[in-house]
């Protein structure tokens, strides 16, 4: 074999070997869902980074006094929110301004948090890490701390050629874990793929839902993830102005990110400040603001007690028990 052949064979072998070891993970989701917003090219999924992200998500070292992790306000068993808390508490029991959002289907969102202040999933973690009411720390502090902690030094050694954590690496690892939190196995989803049928009550509820709710809470994600006013009066103590606080545009006053309606049974209380404990209160709020619907060219929600029950019955079909009990999302034991 002459040298030219040797070169061709070597190049072919190298290409074959690198193809075999390149195993990009892809998210699994129903084929009729829209494409994710997240740009995976900048952060291709791999199982080691997902595992690292999961460890970091549950790691209280990310807070100044090492007591608060992401999971402190985003628990897997309650759809990654802080159930039974209108406003969450962070370091030293300090209380924040807003209700902890449930986390799932994040690949389809690019404006994070109730007012969309973070424009990319990768950067979102900077906000709670730095907020004095939440983790009261800094990304510089986190990185320095991880780089001087033995078990993280060992992880960095395995994962990165230069064996160090950087801000970018911490943030992208967290994103990778968060991207895997997909909720797609509710009864509603099973009806869509023919596995199950709705009850008559649920079917009635769906009709009401389509008429009055689906414009903002659009299937299959049950949100457009846009920003809307929902007629809530401003809380006089919290004085939250919503998206206006980020954009400065007067039309954004009291607009909040439309939450998905999946997993409602696991994620009360409801609204940006958790003011409603029960779904019936949410529905009654919307019944009390017909002008909101009229403004949007929709039919106001004027329904009777039967309708309310039907609507709630439908909403409960969006609960995904498989998601909240998925052990791949829970605290990583023995990692």
């Amino acid at each position: 074999m002459n040298s030219k052949h040797l070169i061709i064979v070597s190049i072919t072998l190298v290409l074959l070997l690198s193809w075999k070891s390149y195993n990009p993970l892809h998210l699994n989701y129903p084929s009729d869902w829209p494409a994710p917003q997240y740009d995976f090219q900048n952060n291709p999924l791999d199982s080691a980074k997902i595992a690292l992200g999961r460890i970091l998500f549950y790691e209280p070292l990310l807070s100044r006094d090492s007591t608060i992790s992401c999971a402190s306000c985003h628990l897997s068993y309650t759809a990654f929110t802080h159930v039974d808390h209108a406003l969450s508490h962070g370091i030293n029991d300090r209380i924040g301004r807003r209700n902890s959002p449930a986390l799932f289907n994040l690949a389809w969102q690019n404006k994070m948090m109730w007012d969309g202040r973070m424009n990319h999933l990768d950067m979102q973690a900077l906000a709670p890490i730095s907020d004095s009411m939440e983790m009261d720390f800094s990304i510089q502090g986190v990185v320095n701390r991880l780089n001087s902690t033995k078990r993280y030094q060992e992880l960095a050694n395995k994962m990165y050629p230069d064996s160090v954590f950087t801000g970018e690496r911490v943030l992208k690892a967290l994103s990778q874990f968060e991207l895997t939190l997909i909720s797609q196995n509710s009864k509603y989803d099973k009806v869509q793929n023919g596995e199950l049928d709705f009850t008559d009550q649920e079917k009635q509820g769906l009709k009401l839902f389509e008429k009055h709710c689906a414009a903002c809470h659009t299937p299959p994600l049950f949100s457009t993830y846009g920003f809307e006013k929902n007629g809530l009066e401003q809380d006089p103590l919290l004085k939250d102005e919503g998206r206006f606080e980020v954009s400065g545009l007067p039309e954004d006053l009291m607009k909040f990110k439309i939450p998905s309606l999946r997993n409602l049974s696991y994620s009360r209380p409801y609204m940006h400040d958790g003011r409603f404990n029960r779904l019936i209160e949410v529905i009654q709020h919307y019944e009390a603001v017909p002008e909101l619907f009229i403004e949007k060219g929709m039919t106001p929600l004027m329904i009777n007690e039967h309708d309310r029950t039907d609507l709630i019955a439908f909403l409960l079909t969006l609960n995904d028990r498989q998601f909240v009990f998925n052990q791949d999302f829970a605290y990583p034991k023995d990692e």
Partner: protein
């Protein structure tokens, strides 16, 4: 590769600089208004004190007679997530309370009054990054001097001494700063 040397000068009295950090990037070489080489999305975080900072940028082999570069980070980078190196958020040049790079941090005192400007903003109408365009010739070294006297003159016209969010004054100051960049060649 082309050497770039950056420094600042400020002869104006009663002006003291404590912190001066900014991004330069998107270096682009032109010849008779045609782009001959560009290094898009490469950004350099420059931290200036009394000394100069040296760094290198890729340069074309062919002739060039103009240079274009950006003071600050362009808007697409601002919505594209986390980046390594000089863009890493541990550099303290990315806001933590909302998304967006801080294009320039300039802090000090003027007429014995402290000032603190964190100049950012990537979205209309407060997009503050600035494109700078200068004529140069094929040389081996670029010397960028930022003559802050002009910036201080601009500052003395206003009462603002603190900017921590995207706003029109941030855009104005970034524009004033971009006018301060002088290019000498060796």
């Amino acid at each position: 590769m082309l050497s770039v040397e950056v420094s600042y000068s400020a002869k104006t009295p009663d002006f003291q600089l404590e912190n001066f950090k900014f991004y330069l990037g998107d270096f682009c070489f032109m010849n008779n208004d045609e782009v001959v080489s560009s290094n898009k999305s490469a950004y350099y975080l420059i931290e200036l004190d009394s000394a100069q900072v040296l760094f290198e940028i890729p340069a074309p082999e062919t002739d060039f007679n103009a240079l274009c570069f950006r003071l600050g980070i362009d808007s697409v980078m601002n919505i594209s997530g986390a980046f390594p190196g000089d863009l890493d958020p541990t550099n303290g040049m990315y806001w933590t309370w909302q998304s967006g790079f801080i294009n320039t941090k300039i802090e000090g005192s003027i007429d014995h009054v402290p000032f603190e400007f964190h100049l950012g903003g990537y979205a209309f109408p407060f997009r503050s990054d600035q494109l700078i365009h200068r004529a140069i010739s094929n040389e081996q070294k670029l010397v960028l001097t930022i003559n802050l006297d002009e910036f201080v003159d601009e500052l003395r016209k206003t009462e603002i001494r603190r900017i921590m969010s995207p706003r029109k004054e941030a855009v104005q100051l970034m524009r004033a700063l971009s006018n301060c960049f002088l290019l000498d060649e060796f």
